[in-house]
Structure formats: structure tokens, C-alpha cells
Subunit: 314 residues, 2 copies
């Protein structure tokens, strides 16, 4: 049997046929054009599935399920999007019914995008075979996915795993969620850019200032640090400690076998991981007495969501 | 069938016969005298069981299992204490083998004391019937128990649930675990006493100063606050916010159906809970959009551990 995975993003929709082992047989994508009615978006998704089946010669009867990873707040039991900011009709949309119009004989499952990415990494990526795993994705915010006994942990209303929204500094930086001092406000790329800009202003001699202020990105400080720039080294060190502080919380709470870091920052590889591991080792409970956890970067990149969605109930 | 539950504390050992519904048929206790060899401690526990069986007339064949709740780091699969600070021979002690010498025909299970207390509250206490629950116990430290799908979540090496050791203030107050700024350092009774003493020194006119400095307890600020003392009201308000800050983290991470607060502070009841609920409501993610969780005080008191231990595999 094969599994259809769909990664429904705000910009692109990726659709793929996946094996039980998490290998992508074939994939395709179309622009989401999220301002459209959902019926049109689902017609596009169904057309992608039809094309993939046609091109691979896999009969519809060989498809065990269709899994959809989506941003927003969902009701997995009903297969429904409850609320999402980035779709025009983003309230109370039943994905399962919409897909059933095109493929009435195939079960449809949905999952939160951060959760299915975590599942993808556990089934086929850098955490393959692990039972208990925590994935964080560092981007505009800090996304989270909790894997317990090899399955997504969703909590009440499928709303668990908002791992970016744990406090790091009580009454600290304003977070987008309304609270102050969240981990996300410090460990997201948005936070890193803010920290980089502040260091540039405070250190006019830093080579970070070769980058115009409006072009500062998550790379600016890392690139300058690798050239030995002291102000940049301080930014990177502090940023790594911010990441580690929240990861140590995850260790103390979940004692997982593996912590997975996703997002563009993964490209820094061991340059990022080595100091993060050191800080986590210092901050986690019972250091030296308890088995350690692996800390790895995600290996599936943009495919994690597609693969995880495909294998939601595989 | 009936279940034996044992709450093995550093001071006392409580032993009871429990029904599947979590009702205590009969219980007894003996001093732990934890400085003794474990063989003697287990002989005492076995004698307690024999006496309870004799007094209730329940035959040994009616006992489905013996569950032991213990402090320290454990290996539940092997039924072994790996490490505990408060027992003389607190390293690598196989509880299962020690009990099997007395009751070879009854399966023996072990659990961490904070975890079995949480299980007790979910099976028979203030969170009865809930699937996803988080319990914190406010005392010398902040203990934690995680219940997922009605069962204890243990993580790697049974070491999950160190909920007091998540950061509240990065680089803040020194915590006993070696890290700085842990929730425990602020929300434990130890933290409250420290905050109370600081407020007494800063506010010589406060009626809190009627209590001698060396007799300050977790009640001092609460008692004075109820009499309208402004400095005490400020201490209590800040302490409630500390509690709520970590509980909001638990909501965002687990989105549980219920948060249970245990420890002596429970006696404050709604006087404590109402402000804590308000703060959690303000700080939790997606307030107003997502189903809320209950916040309750533990109802089983010292029996929670005994009942939870009894029902570890019931």
C-alpha cells in the first residue's frame, strides 16, 4: 500500500505518494493561492493526486489514506480546520468532506503542520525509530511537535505543542501571542534578527554593519562570527544559550530520546549544535546521572511535513 | 481483585489495600527508618501487607499486584531504584526482587512518587476520569507528574516530569538543581518563604513581622494578606503569578484537560485558585479560542501516592 501526503502551506501545496517506510515515490506542488475558496484549493489537490497516480501507474485502490498537514488550529477527530489566520475562509472548514468529494473511498486524516513535520522526522528523518522525540522549528516563530510512543501527542482540541510559548524571561520581550518573555521571542529567527540589529547599533565597528540594516537576516551574525567578529560571536553565543534554555526545559519535562531542530538555521549544522549541546548539558536536570538525549538537526527539510502527513495513521 | 499500594517515603511507609476504583479498603503505616538496609524495610512492608490481609480477610490470591511509589530515579521496567538521595543504600536496589522474597506470586510494579500521586488523583481524586492531566506539588520543591491517556508518562529512564525545573527567569534565582531561574526556585514553598522574608525586611510595618523571622512559613504571607496587609497582598499576588506562569507553560505544551495543584498550599483553596486561574487565562496561548482546562487542588492528600501506586497497572 501507498500513502498520499499533502503539505498545505500558505504559499505552496506539496503533494506526494509515500511508502510505509517514508520514502517519496513521486511528488509535485502547486501554488496555494490561499485567498481562494477552499473548494478550489481542494480541487487542485485532488488533481495533483490524480496526476501522481497516473504518472506512477499506482492504482487508486493501492492508496491506504490521504493525510493533510495544515497550519492552524484543527479538530483531528472531525478532520476539520477550526481556525487559521492565513486562509481567507479559515474557519470551520471540514477537510475530510472536501477531499471525500474527490476521493470518497480513501480515508482522510489531518494534522497540524508542526506536528506532522515532527512525525516525518521520526518515521523517516534524523530521528528515525525514536519513541519519544521533541521537534522545534526555528523560523518567524518557534514551532513545536511532540512525539510520544512514536505518535503525535495532541492534547485537548489538538492544541498541544505550542512549545515556543513557554516563558524564558518573566515579563520580558513582548511575544506575538500576547504574553511577555516567551522562548519564541528570543529563540526564533525574528528574535535573532532583533538581537543582531541591537548588537550592530551598539558595535559600530562590527563587520555585521557591512549588511544594510534592512537586509539583516538570521545569517548575518553567524557569517560574521565565523570570521571572528567579537560582537557577532557574542550574539551567536547568547542566541545558542536561548535555544538551549528552552531545550533543557524540554529535556526536564519529557526526557525524550532526541531533540530535533528544524528551520533554515539547520544549515549551520555542528557550528550551531555543539554549543547548544554544551549548554543543554549544563542546564538539564541530573546531568551525568541520567541517560543523555541526542540533539540533531532535521534531515528531511521541506519534505518532513509531506511525509509525516502521509504516515499520520500508517 | 484488590491492589496493594505502598507509599515509600523518607519518613513513613504507608501500605494499603485498594479497590480498582481507587477506594482504600484498609491502610496502615510504619516508620521508614531509611537508614536501615533495604531488606529490613521490605520485611516491614511485607509484614504490613500480611497484617492488612489478615485483618480484612482478603486472601492473597485476590491481590492482583503490589505497587510501590518511591522517591528517586527509577527503572520501571526492571522494578529498580537507580538512585535516591534519602536512602542509605539508595543505589541500584531491585524493589521487585526484594518484594518477591515475601510475595513471589504477586506482580510488583514501581513508580516515581510524584508520578503515582498524579495517577492517584486521576483515578480517584479531583481529576477523576480525565485523560490528559498535569499535577504539580508545591512543597520544598516543585514536583511534577504527567498523565497522558490516563497513564503516567515517564520518558527515557523514567525521568520525565521534572516540571519544577523549567526556567522562569533566565539567569535568575539559584535552583537546587544547579541551574538558575527554575520555576521551582519561585513557586515552591521554599521560594514563597524567601519572598515573604524579603517583604518583611522591606516593610517593617507589615503585620507579617509579628511572626519571628525563623518561624516564617508558607502561611505567613497568606494569613496576613487575608487581614488586608498590603505588603503581604503583594507577596501573595506575585507568588500566584509565579505559579500561573509555569502552569501557562504546561497549558501551552500539553493542553491538558486539568491542572492539579498539590501540597500543603492546597488548603488555601479558592483563595489561591481564583487568581491563579485569572493569570493562566491571560498568559495561555489562544485564550478565548481554545477550550479551557480545569485548575483544581488535589483532593486525596497523603493518600494520592498510595492509591496511585496500587493502580499502576490496574
Amino acid at each position: 500500500m501507498y500513502y498520499i501526503g499533502i503539505d498545505l502551506g500558505g504559499t505552496n501545496i506539496a503533494v506526494g505518494i509515500v511508502t510505509k517506510e517514508g520514502e517519496i515515490v513521486k511528488k509535485t506542488s502547486v501554488p496555494a493561492r490561499a485567498e481562494r475558496p477552499f473548494e478550489e484549493i481542494f480541487a487542485d489537490m485532488a488533481a495533483c493526486i490524480a496526476r501522481l497516480l497516473n504518472e506512477t501507474g499506482i492504482p487508486e485502490g493501492e492508496i491506504a489514506s490521504i493525510g493533510i498537514g495544515t497550519p492552524g488550529c484543527i479538530d483531528t477527530e472531525k478532520g476539520m480546520l477550526v481556525f487559521a489566520g492565513n486562509f481567507k475562509y479559515g474557519k470551520m472548514v471540514n477537510y475530510r468532506d472536501l477531499m471525500a468529494k474527490h476521493y470518497p473511498n480513501i480515508p482522510v486524516y489531518i494534522g497540524n503542520d508542526a506536528n506532522v513535520a515532527a512525525l516525518g522526522e521520526v518515521r523517516a528523518g534524523s530521528a528515525k525509530g525514536m519513541r519519544h522525540a521533541i521537534m522545534i522549528t526555528l523560523g518567524t516563530g518557534v514551532g513545536g511537535g511532540i512525539i510520544i510512543n512514536g505518535e503525535i501527542y495532541e492534547g485537548q482540541a489538538s492544541a498541544a505543542g505550542e512549545l515556543g510559548h513557554i516563558v524564558l524571561v518573566q515579563h520580558g520581550e513582548q511575544c506575538t501571542c500576547g504574553r511577555k518573555g516567551c522562548w519564541e521571542a528570543y529563540a526564533s529567527v525574528t528574535g535573532l534578527v532583533r538581537q543582531t540589529k541591537a548588537a550592530m547599533q551598539a558595535n559600530p565597528d562590527s563587520i555585521m554593519n557591512n549588511t544594510p540594516m534592512d537586509q539583516v537576516s538570521g545569517r548575518t551574525a553567524f557569517d560574521a562570527a565565523k570570521k571572528g567578529d567579537k560582537a557577532a560571536l557574542a550574539v551567536v553565543d547568547r542566541y545558542e544559550e536561548y535555544i538551549a534554555e528552552g531545550l533543557a526545559d524540554m529535556v526536564n519535562i519529557f526526557r525524550p530520546e532526541v531533540l530535533i531542530i528544524g528551520g533554515g538555521i539547520c544549515k549551520e549544522g555542528e557550528y550551531l549544535l555543539a554549543p547548544v549541546r554544551k549548554y543543554v548539558g549544563e542546564k538539564a536536570f541530573g546531568a551525568g546521572l541520567l541517560p543523555e538525549q541526542k540533539i540533531v538537526v532535521a534531515s528531511l527539510g521541506n519534505d518532513a511535513g509531506l511525509i509525516g502527513a502521509a504516515l499520520l495513521h500508517a
